[in-house]
């Protein structure tokens, strides 16, 4: 069972739909006991960093995520969910994140249009099971104005080019994060969702 962490952030039903299509049992909830029993967690979300952390805190979800990471359960952060994995976010002032990964989240510094909206292709830097079947140059759908800057560059699995190097996929042990929206990235997105589902099945 995959738990989609519900912390009141935006349209997360599409993540559920994508998991259903992949044939993976899932539940969208903020219930601590249910999330503890899940074999893998997805932290989705769009919106602002600070508000996202506040909502996680309000629902008491921070220890649940930390426990999951320690237990070795696969965790996937999507977009804002990826950002929140880091130590600090600089959206509407500096605020603390989950600190599961070292680094900070900053506004994109590019001469191109912001938000970075649309399909961009991945440059795969390091191998990871989350990208099984995905090739260098495959396109995914991005929508964001901020990006993660990991301290440890070796956790960067893939980047994309938007006038600057955008961190697109990170992975450290059982923790995965994607800047793009796999649930909106057509066939390539489904492959990634399947990969995460397989990692969860393997762990459970």
């Amino acid at each position: 069972m995959i738990g989609i962490i519900d912390y009141g952030r935006g349209n997360i039903s599409s993540v559920e739909t994508a998991l259903n299509k992949g044939g993976f049992e899932n539940i969208t909830t903020d219930n601590h006991d249910i999330l503890r029993k899940c074999d893998g967690l997805i932290l989705p979300g769009v919106g602002a960093f600070k508000d996202g952390m506040k909502d996680l805190e309000k629902r008491g979800l921070i220890p649940i995520i930390e426990e999951a990471v320690k237990s070795g359960k696969p965790l996937l952060g999507i977009c804002l969910g990826l950002h929140l994995l880091f130590e600090f976010g600089e959206e509407n002032g500096v605020s603390a994140g989950l600190g599961i990964l070292e680094g900070r989240v900053e506004r994109l510094t590019t001469s191109f249009k912001i938000p970075h909206i649309g399909w961009n292709d991945l440059k795969i830097i390091n191998p990871s099971p989350i990208l099984d079947g995905i090739e260098d140059g495959d396109d995914f759908y991005f929508v964001h104005s901020y990006q993660a800057h990991p301290v440890d560059k070796s956790i960067i699995i893939a980047t994309c080019d938007y006038g600057l190097e955008v961190v697109a996929v990170v992975s450290k042990e059982n923790v995965f994060g994607v800047q793009f929206h796999p649930e909106k990235s057509s066939i390539n997105g489904m492959i990634l969702i399947q990969n995460f589902g397989k990692l969860v099945s393997k762990w459970s």
Partner: protein, 252 residues
């Protein structure tokens, strides 16, 4: 690199697609969900539904269309038409749309952009601008489906829209719409250069060269088209191949 986007737009009235469409592979050509699925498979980068339902009572049919589309289509889609309040936005987004597009209500009440962006995120809020050139050669923004001239100068309105927190601008040339003579490239370029948010060009596409012009000369980030795809004049794939051959970065 970021790819330029090709976006088919579907006009929906009372839950049915309005413009005559006839594809062999589609069982029910009037069903917006079937058509959305078809365009997804064809390689469309996004979709826009424009709800032109006249009566308020039948608006709920659009919510059902959005729900069904979200279940079956795995590319982003926007819904425009009839969205007047934060509650309307919430209903459409909750039903599974990725973005909402607003025009008249945005001009009448700018707070709707600001509030919408604050609550749902800028990336959800597309502001549609219907532009028409006046006698002095300036562009003015129209509302109420092009019936009312607000007298607002388009470039400054576009900048204001950006400042209010909109994530994208859907720019339609009323002069070109329906002509099949191509986008208003001057208008598109002026707006695209004036704002730092993405601009979707709309109105006037009659052939594939027009898509190229809008994206390259007009500097738009995305090209919207309706009839050339709906009537099967060109497929999305043909359009994309044409653009790739001309060196435009396009997702295949």
């Amino acid at each position: 690199m970021l790819k330029k986007r090709i976006i088919p737009c579907l006009d929906v009235r009372d839950g049915r697609v309005v413009k005559g469409i006839n594809f062999v592979d589609i069982k029910d050509a009037g069903d917006p969900v079937e058509l959305a699925k078809f365009y997804d498979q064809e390689g469309a980068d996004e979709l826009i539904f424009l709800d032109i339902t006249a009566s308020h009572e039948k608006r709920d049919t659009m919510i059902e269309v959005v729900k069904q589309t979200a279940k079956q289509v795995f590319i982003p889609f926007t819904v425009g038409g009839g969205i007047k309040s934060i509650d309307d936005m919430r209903n459409i987004l909750r039903a599974g749309a990725d973005k909402v597009s607003i025009n008249t209500p945005a001009i009448l009440n700018k707070k709707l952009i600001t509030e919408g962006a604050k609550i749902f995120g800028s990336q959800c809020i597309v502001v549609a601008i219907d532009a028409k050139k006046n006698e002095n050669g300036n562009y003015e923004a129209y509302i109420n489906g092009g019936r009312v001239n607000t007298g607002l100068e388009v470039i400054s309105w576009a900048k204001e829209v950006e400042a209010c927190g909109a994530g994208e601008i859907l720019l339609t040339s009323m002069d070109c719409d329906g002509t099949k003579d191509g986008y208003d490239l001057e208008l598109t370029r002026l707006v695209s250069e004036a704002v730092s948010i993405p601009v979707i060009a709309s109105g006037g596409v009659g052939n594939l060269e027009h898509l190229y012009e809008g994206l390259v000369e007009g500097k738009a980030q995305a090209a919207l088209a309706a009839s050339i795809f709906h009537y099967g004049t060109y497929s999305i794939r043909e359009g994309k191949q044409y653009l790739i051959d001309k060196g435009v970065d396009i997702r295949w």
